[in-house]
Symmetry: C2
Subunit: 383 residues, 2 copies
Amino acid sequence: MSMPSSADPTDPPSTHAELFPDNPVLVALTRGDAVESFHRGAAIALRADGRPLLAWGDVERPVFPRSALKPMQALALLEALPDAPDLTPERIALHTASHAGWLMQVERIREWLEDMGLSEANLECGTRDWPLDPDAARELARRGGRSGPVHHNCSGQHAGFLRLAQAMGAPTAGYIGAEHPVQRAVTAVLGDLTDVDMATMPHGLEGCGIPSPALPLWAVALGMARLADPSGLAPSRAAAARRLCAAMAAHPDMVAGPGRCETRLIRTTTGRVLAKVGAEGNMVAIIPGHGVGVALKMDDGATRAAEVALGLVLEALGVLSADDRAALAGVFQPVERNAAGVETGHALAVTAPEDGDGDADDPEVDPWDEDWDDEDPKGPDAG
Amino acid sequence: MSMPSSADPTDPPSTHAELFPDNPVLVALTRGDAVESFHRGAAIALRADGRPLLAWGDVERPVFPRSALKPMQALALLEALPDAPDLTPERIALHTASHAGWLMQVERIREWLEDMGLSEANLECGTRDWPLDPDAARELARRGGRSGPVHHNCSGQHAGFLRLAQAMGAPTAGYIGAEHPVQRAVTAVLGDLTDVDMATMPHGLEGCGIPSPALPLWAVALGMARLADPSGLAPSRAAAARRLCAAMAAHPDMVAGPGRCETRLIRTTTGRVLAKVGAEGNMVAIIPGHGVGVALKMDDGATRAAEVALGLVLEALGVLSADDRAALAGVFQPVERNAAGVETGHALAVTAPEDGDGDADDPEVDPWDEDWDDEDPKGPDAG
């Protein structure tokens, strides 16, 4: 009776505690009168100068931000094409998107490919079984359609990669490879915006085939803060960041899709808060008016929890109005219903216990600490 | 800047630590060369006399076992109809199932309803958007079909509830209600098999509308152990338990569906290990040859983790042969691939660190304790 030796990822150089930090519970799901499941994670909000507003859990450990990196990655295209008329705000929003796969999104991506003299066959993202959104999948099924690369939730980003390859005079084939000029440019932007030496980070492969780097959560938030407040960046990069934020604010339906968390948040706040999900429980936010960036990662990879945890962070930052809160209750405090439509429970953002249990890293700024309010009495609104 | 008071489920009577136990990491998912996500949970394996073989994490806290209760719940029907010829082993397996929604399953349930003089309209489980299994959903979509109550993963259990109502001379309408004779009989069986006073337990509503009681994890495992070894039960109940296990062993395709974890496990072990998943990260196993019951619940509700954690428990119990292990590698050590079919990472069962960190409740029997092997040197094989 022995444990399978192949099942032990705790070999050197990492220890069990480093691999699996004891992060705080951020979200609970109830059933009837009790908690059914709960989700742990880490979250951080920073200003562009690196000053933290909140930090919960282990924000040092490298995590794979996945598609939450897209707003940063998009700067490579925007800087390469500062004034190309074909790169419309709508297409910029699609380039930052994990789109739901609705016909109205897919058709715009097809048009973009045609404008480039390309087609769906040039997309190297692969084909998913269904569009990301179940309603969009049903729409496709009802029309008798079949899922292709253009339905992949990353196809808008990939269309932009193809456009970047053309702009660079590089071959379009192979644009997903780590050594292709497109991905080298994208990786360089990530390193610049986060102050991280990308060569030292763990890395993997994305669901859509491009490189998937890991980054400390603080670095992800720092990059988002610099998109929110690009005043410290070089002028051409700062202009690209402003253009990016304006495009996401103007086209929330393209960033995700009708009914989805990021789209509803951007629309409700009329772009005061921009957000982007990443697979495996990642979420980032860009808050331009306050110059704040947010990054969070749920330990277990649950998107349902990342959405509710984003609400907790935005509440803690004081950036939601009473009207916002009411309009977004379905996103940040969702009610669970069964197949007959009867309420069975709900998701709750969870405040940490008074003793700070679960905050593994003793963060510099701990909103659960009663003294924290004294340190920054008005939150980001004072900034 | 304050936390939303409505978001605090830590009000009395439960404390934060009671609601959110510090359970051990049981499963990790890698991307490239690093851990991407990880899952905590609790697990216990018992003999029918209550003697624990292993206990990891908090096995005292009530959890909602969801559909993992179905094998126990099925005894109500089997005891009411000890020799009815229409209650075939195939239908018994469907009554314990969370079926995938394949045509071959749906047609058998329709036939069963017709045999009772009933139809799909008598099912009160509600309608899900799609069958549970994506492949089954695609099958339905390709045929131009629409999802109805019979496609709900619980429709086989509900067909059996209707049969039980007829057997009891009770009205079929309203059979999902807590006060209906069918659900009262089902609740009574659960209390008997687990030695728990069901009236004292938290309760909620199931996804399919029936009562959803919570139970301590040890009690769930005890009930499964008594199904595995019914020698201590009343003769009629013991006969029903044996009939149940034989039906699940004979019809693995009906218990879940082709390709799914439980079906593959039952088929590979030719019924030496019976398993049943429950929503929100629940899994149980019945090991008749050893008289052992297993129950586990992932904190975060992830089915993908419950499946891998079941493999870890079965390894710890020593019930898998080398051939079983090889045949089930795709279930218990799954490789993750992206949309292009390229490997991006894998899921790993995780052994606990030597210091026992994360075992909240100091379980009586701790397999991570070096002395444990001495206590039970041969595992369940010795029983």
